[in-house]
Every structure is written in C-alpha cells, then in structure tokens.
C-alpha cells in the first residue's frame, strides 16, 4: 500500500530540472525545478515578474531554456517549437485566449485542424460535422452549453464561454497529456470564475493534469493539489495544498524572511 502510494507520488508526467533563462542581462529563471504528477492540478504562483509566464512558455515550447532539462513521462525531450510541444500532447491556453472573434465557436475549436471532405480533388470544410463535434466536446467534457450562441461569432459569447472554447481547442485532441493555463480567471466575473474553476476540476477528473497560473490564492486553493511558488526567478517552495495555508504561501511569494521587501513607506 505504502509502496503503491510512493510510486504514484513519483508518477511525474512532466518534470523540469535546473531551468535557467536569461533575457539579455536579466535572469528571468534561475535553476528552477518543477514537476507535475498524473491527475493533479498544480498551482503556479508568484509576484509580478517572478517568472511564471516565462516558465510555462518554456514548458510549452514557446522559448528554449538556456540551461536545464525537461522530462516528459520520464523521457528527456527538447521542445523545438510550440508546434512540436503540441504534437507531444502539451496544450496551453494563454492569457489572451487567442480566439478569432469573428468566427463561431466550432470554427475556433478546430482552427488549424479543420475537418474536411475531398471532392473533385479539393478539400471542402465540413462545417456541420465540426459544429456537432465541438458542441459535443464542450457539453460532455466541459459541461458548457452555448445555447442560442452556437453559430454566433465568438465575440457574442460571455467571458466564461470564450474560456471554454479556448480550452476546447486545447483538449479536443485525444492525445493531450498536459494542459497549461495562464491566468484563466483574470478577466472573469465571480460566476464565470466559479465555472472555470469547476472546469479545471472536471479536466483533472478526466485524467488531464493541469498547470494553473493565478494571482488569486483563493482560486489556487480551490482547485490545486500542489502549489509551486516562484520568487524573482527562483523556485522557493512546493507545498501540498491541503497541508498548507494562504498565509504560508503568501509568505513564500513575498519572501517573509526578507523584511526589506515589505514596504515601509508609512514610517519613512
């Protein structure tokens, strides 16, 4: 029993060791370790400029790291490009969602990998089939219904619906292994936030491990199993959510032991 538990603990889908990244003279990441287990939601937190986005861009193939190694399902990999990372099953929903506002939901879900039929030596888009599949996906996996907005351009959708379309595009491929979400709740109202958090849990329950960046610790605590904290480009702690507290995480984020970072303008 204990052994099995231990094995599960070590069941890393993704591992990064000693990741370092410089932008010119600026060290955005310094020897950062990171891991993601099968079936967990990992919260990634840190102050502005701590290096969160940089880390996930490296993990999703947007940038190469200057040093360090990445293991996907225990195999070392070199992510050559975003396309390459996608082909390995690393999907991402970036902060700006990257939807084409003027296209309908299903066209966005399938953008870049449309379903088409050959006719007279040419390929014609099967819009009806894409619509059915996209709506099924949103309904079954994400529990989102678009109602009367099924065929409407996505600028007509609410923030939460847009979010689900962006996630739908990331997860519709069967071979998805990891989903990364950069600040998925940043632009949402309370109700939509609740839906998105629920959606993250739903994904985890479908066996897709998720990395979530968020500034709101409330949200991180609501969805995550573990939390990784970055401060000024360094990894300063990994905690099990259940065994930690917001005070502890906040302390790690701002560096409680370094008193000088606490603003004391009131006294000065």
């Amino acid at each position: 029993m204990n052994d099995a538990k231990k094995r599960q603990d070590e069941d890393f889908v993704l591992e990064a060791r000693g990741i370092t990244k410089n932008f010119g003279g600026l060290r955005a990441l310094d020897n950062v370790d990171f891991s993601l287990r099968r079936g967990e939601v990992m919260g990634l937190v840190g102050d502005n400029g701590a290096g969160k986005s940089t880390l996930i861009k490296i993990l999703t193939g947007v940038y190469p790291a200057d040093a360090g190694e990445i293991l996907l399902e225990r195999q070392p990999v070199t992510l050559r490009s975003r396309q390459h990372a996608k082909s390995l099953g690393i999907e991402a929903v970036y902060q700006d969602l990257a939807l084409v506002d003027t296209l309908e939901a299903s066209a966005n879900v399938f953008l870049g990998s449309e379903i088409s039929n050959p006719l007279l030596g040419m390929q014609f888009l099967d819009n009806a089939k894409m619509r059915t599949e996209a709506l099924n996906l949103l309904k079954n996996k994400l529990n989102i219904q678009l109602g009367s907005n099924r065929k409407a351009p996505v600028f007509n959708l609410s923030g939460g619906q847009k979010q689900s379309v962006a996630i739908g595009r990331a997860i519709y491929r069967e071979h998805i292994k990891i989903l990364v979400m950069d600040e998925p709740t940043a632009a949402l109202g309370p109700e939509e936030t609740e839906k998105t958090l629920h959606l993250i849990r739903t994904l985890r329950d479908h066996g897709i491990p998720v990395i979530v960046i968020a500034h709101n610790l409330e949200h991180v605590f609501a969805v995550s199993e573990r939390i990784t904290v970055l401060r000024r480009g360094r990894m300063v702690g990994v905690r099990s959510t259940a065994e930690s507290s917001k005070t502890e995480i906040l302390g790690l984020i701002i560096g409680a032991e370094e008193k000088e970072v606490v603003p004391s303008s009131g006294k000065a």
Binding site: K86, A98, V100, D101, T102, M122, A152
Partner: protein, 335 residues
Amino acid sequence: MNDTTPAKSVQKLIARLGPGFVLIVVILVAAFMVPRFFTTLNLINVLYQSSIYIVLAVGMTFVITGGGIDLSIGSQVALISVVMSGFIHAWGWPVGLAMVVAIFFGMGLGAVNGFVITGLRMPDFIVTLAAMETFRGFALVHSAGKIWFDFPSSFRYIGITRWAGLPIPTIVALILAAIGYYIYHKTHFGRYTIAVGGNRTAAIYCGIPVSRYKVFQYVLMGGLCGLAAILITSRLDSSQATMAQGYEIHTIAAVIMGGTSLFGGSGNVVGSVVGALILGIIANTMVLLGVDYFWRLVVTGLLIVLAVGLNQWRENVMREASLEAVKETAKESTS
C-alpha cells in the same frame, strides 16, 4: 425585452437586411426618377456594366477580410490589358493563349504585392499604393501612348455576345461570385483568410502559415484583375494605359457597402455583389438622367460616404443587439 420600441425594431430590421435594404431603396429611387429604369434592356445593361466590379469585388472581399487592401487593381487591369493587347496585335498570339497568359500575368502582379508585403513586412496600404503608381507607369511605358482597338472577332465575342439573354461578362461574374462564396465559407483558404484578418496571433498559434495565405489573397486578386481586364477590353474593343482609373475606389466601396469589415476578419461575398450592383444602378440612373460626368463623380463620392456610414451604423446596431443577447443568455443560465 419590454423596452423594445417600434423604432428600435425597425432599426434592427434595417440592420439585418443590411446592403439588401440599400439595394431596394436605390432600385425604388431609380425607378421613381427614371421610368425607363425597369425595362429588361436597361436592367440587363446594369448587370452588364456591374459585372467587372463584381469580379473585382469578389477578390477584394478576400483581401480586405484578410486584413489587407489592394489599391493597385485599376493599374493592374490597365497593365494586363495593354500587355495582352500587345500579345494579340503586335505578336499575333491566338486569343485563347493571350487570355490565359493575361490571367497568369495578373496572378504574378498579385504575387509581387503579396511577397513585398510579407517579405519586407510593410503595410498593405503603402505597398499597393506604390504598386498603383508603378503598374500604371509600366502600362504607360509599354503602350507608349498607343490605343489598341479593332480586336479579332473571336475576342470581341466575349464582350458582345449573350447567352440565354445575358451578356457573357454577366454570366462569368455571377458564376464567379458563386464560386467565391463557396471558397469563402467552405475551404481552408476562406477560413484562414478570416483567421489571419481577425486575429493574426491566434492564426499563428494554431499553426496557420499566415504569410503564405496573405500572398494567396493577392494572387487571387491579381488573377481576377486579369479576368476583369479581358472582360473590359473585349467589351470596349479598346485598350490603353489610362484605362480603369478609379476602379480601386469603386471596388473597395462596393465591398465595404456589402458588409465586409475594413478592419478585417469578417466579410460577405454576396454583400459585395450587392454593393457592386448598388454602384452600378446609381451610375446607370445618373447616365439616364443626363447628369454631367463631373457631377456624377461628385454624387458617386457622396453616396459612397453615405452608404459606408450606413454600414457602420448597421454594425453598431448589430453589436448592440448581440450584447443584449449575451445578457439574456446570461440571465437564462443563472435562473
């Protein structure tokens, strides 16, 4: 929904009809002012005169949807026309060969635009403005002030023959519009044109080769300039370097009137055809009324502003309506 006044409903109805509404108004005004307007002969004449603009507007719908604009199409038509005329007259090429080469030549001109825009990362507006000047210059150099006329009858056939009562250019334009509609909605090319114009970053992120599609759009536009050059040259039975001036303005106006967004990302091929017809009817009516050519330019310019303004107003009404719809569905889903 109880705050909906009748005035608002009328607004929405007009907005939904869009360019169709303008077309109906223009037809009614024309019929009222010129009794001769509604004769079969005149209606066919309007279609005949609009067919060149329909051909060009179909191509321009793709270019503008893709976030670009092509100001060089009038010059392209002129350059292709004089070069093709040279093939036929000076070199004695068979008409069919000259026409095929004309279309490929147009695609080549479009490719030049596309490669300069994507390769040098320059704005579409600037590149095609420069091309407008350059292509016109080449046309003037090539023809050296000559006017080509008296084309072989096999070539003139296209411009003057009717099939099933309709002039060949009209038939060509309508078939082309139907094909354009299918390409726009049913092919990767159409879909990616919308994506590139709507959100370039998203398109890149989804692995769409955005530069390649931009070039394709200009190649299509150039090919259609070739087709337009054939139709207009054959119809007029003449060709000279100064022809087809202002075609870009008319074509862009027709496309914007038809509901294609000047900001890219959304367009309407059928609307562009309607836009071309609206401009055709206005021109035709003024000719029938005997309006002086200079005044016709003034009136056309003002009407273009009016129609484009109307289209912008329409987009605002539609956006408002859709925002209301979002609120409605939000309410539905919470209750």
